[in-house]
Amino acid sequence: MKVLLRGNEAMAEAAIRAGCRCYFCYPITPQGELVEYMARHLPRHGGVFLQAESEVAAINMVYGAAAAGVRTMTSSSSPGISLKMEGISYLAGARLPAVIVNVMRAGPGLGNIAPAQGDYFQATKGGGHGDYRLIVLAPSTVQEAAELVMLAFDLSDRYRVPAMILADGMLGQMMEPVELPEPIPPGRIPPKPWALTGAKDRAPNVVSSFDLDPYRFREILRALWAVYREIERNEVRWEEYATEDAELVLVAYGTMGRICRTVVRRARKEGLRVGLFRPISLWPFPYAPLRRLAERVPVLLTVELSAGQMWEDVRLAVEGRAKTPFYGELGGVVPTPEEILSEVKKHVRG
């Protein structure tokens, strides 16, 4: 049965169905509906909803709840995510699973509340201090947002790596019919023998990201990076649309990916051989599939709601095998399909 939900609400409901039982937040637009939904629904499922005094406190509460072995989430938008970066680095260092939702708005600074994709670097290249990565998943529809939230909890638990959903204001606010995923039976959540549950009949567990000895710490980080390499092998996700015969492929994620799908349909109607490559996992980034595409497609046009952040990964993937022009908008301006199509026409002939 399909229900009509906003992206923010669908992500909240999906989190509850994924077994999230502790949610900590601080209000910010454009993800307010997610907070409100959790406030109304999570306690009814026996979960903890807590509005913290700041994003800093909220992410550290997530750290505590994750350490206690509970599925936990926080959500925010760009300026709030900046404040969470310290805690996210600690989560990564302490190998704690947690889900962080970023419903991006335009920045830097206070910016505005319009949809944007300017937090790509922050999400995929670190953001907080130190040598770590987050699993980063970018939905482009409300349906996919719900599914990726469920997946984020599973991956985060499986690898003990925090996962981020990188959405934007448009996806958060948009209403669509959704087929909600079935709730996860509690037995499907993997056991967490490392969690802080009291040192009864076992040696004490310690959740920490600290080791003064560089050689020991190096081993800890090597083990962490071995996990990251495993994630890179197993968890790359992307979608290709009409790429088989394409002369130009648009590379776009999230809301931009969705708009570019419309662009592909219009271009095809005009007889232009245009396709779409849409990364779903932004980390691990689909370098290999994109490289394969670049072997046979002469132009890969990256389109983003930023000055060109994912574009750097596209160029890393392509390494000169194809042309890699860029088209982006700034400040929360969302380009129309027509505008993108006229950009496309600069590179392909009908």
């Binding site: 005094e53 406190a57 600690y90 802080l196 004490p204």
Partner: protein, 256 residues
């Protein structure tokens, strides 16, 4: 890290033994540091209440950062100042656990002021041990918000000038104004009598949590002889004669 071995000579009966909830790791504190006494008092309280198997500690960033090595309890190491938020997350996730934080004055009363005040104001059912040594011990003796007027530190080489750096922050008095907390007290450990009083206060702060009474905080006015650049044995006198002028001892809030 070295192991402390206690050899009992034949014919002697040990009366002062290591608390069960302490591991055999040697403390990393300097000679004369009050952290050592306070850490032990916490362990004694955990032993006395028989809660070691359900206690989770939250270690700060500061000289007590290795707390998780000293205790035989589950432990989380928190980011600087965030211990009360981390403790909130643990306790809310699993209310059956007994959760305590142990924090310095830089940790709790500077960078973690917001997390502390709001955990107290929510009446989180946790226990907070607050070691006020009026200085940033771990980083080498910089001014803390609790540093006494005129006190020399590496960042106030001419002594703390209240006109430009403010006054010693009495955060326990601030917290005592709130409706949220249950028990706020200020103690010290500079002589046997005060150690016994501090011990009772820490015990009460844990018992409150066991009884579901809410937020309890025990501030302990302490000495960091290393950064005061005084001999270890002088620390006690420093607390008694200098620090207590600004941090008077006693219960600030008790709700039974």
């Amino acid at each position: 890290m070295s192991v402390v071995e206690t050899k009992v000579p034949a014919g002697f009966v040990p009366v002062y033994t290591r608390p069960k909830s302490l591991s055999d790791k040697r403390f990393t504190y300097c000679p004369g540091c009050h952290h050592g006494i306070i850490t032990r008092l916490v362990a004694e309280a955990i032993d006395e209440l028989g809660i070691q198997e359900r206690t989770v500690g939250v270690a700060p960033v500061g000289c007590a950062v290795f707390l998780y090595e000293f205790f035989r309890c589950d432990f989380a190491q928190a980011a600087h100042g965030r211990a009360c938020a981390v403790a909130t997350g643990i306790k809310r996730a699993n209310p059956d656990l007994i959760v305590f934080t142990y924090q310095g004055d830089g940790d709790l009363a500077a960078i973690g002021t917001a997390e502390t005040i709001h955990a107290a104001n929510r009446g989180e059912n946790i226990t907070v041990i607050f070691v006020n040594n009026q200085i940033y011990g771990m980083t080498g003796g910089e001014m803390a918000p609790t540093t006494l007027p005129g006190m020399r530190t590496v960042t106030t080489p001419e002594g703390r000038d209240v006109r430009t750096t403010g006054y010693p922050l009495r955060i326990s008095e601030m917290l005592a104004q709130l409706d949220g907390p249950t028990y706020i007290t200020r103690q010290a450990v500079f002589d046997v009598r005060h150690v016994q009083m501090a011990r009772k206060a820490i015990l009460k702060a844990f018992r409150n949590q066991l009884e579901g009474k809410g937020f309890s905080l025990v501030e302990v006015v302490a000495a960091c002889p290393t950064n005061l650049r005084i001999p270890p044995a002088e620390g006690n006198r420093w607390v008694k004669e200098q620090a207590l002028k600004y941090f008077p001892l006693g219960d600030l809030k008790v709700r039974d």
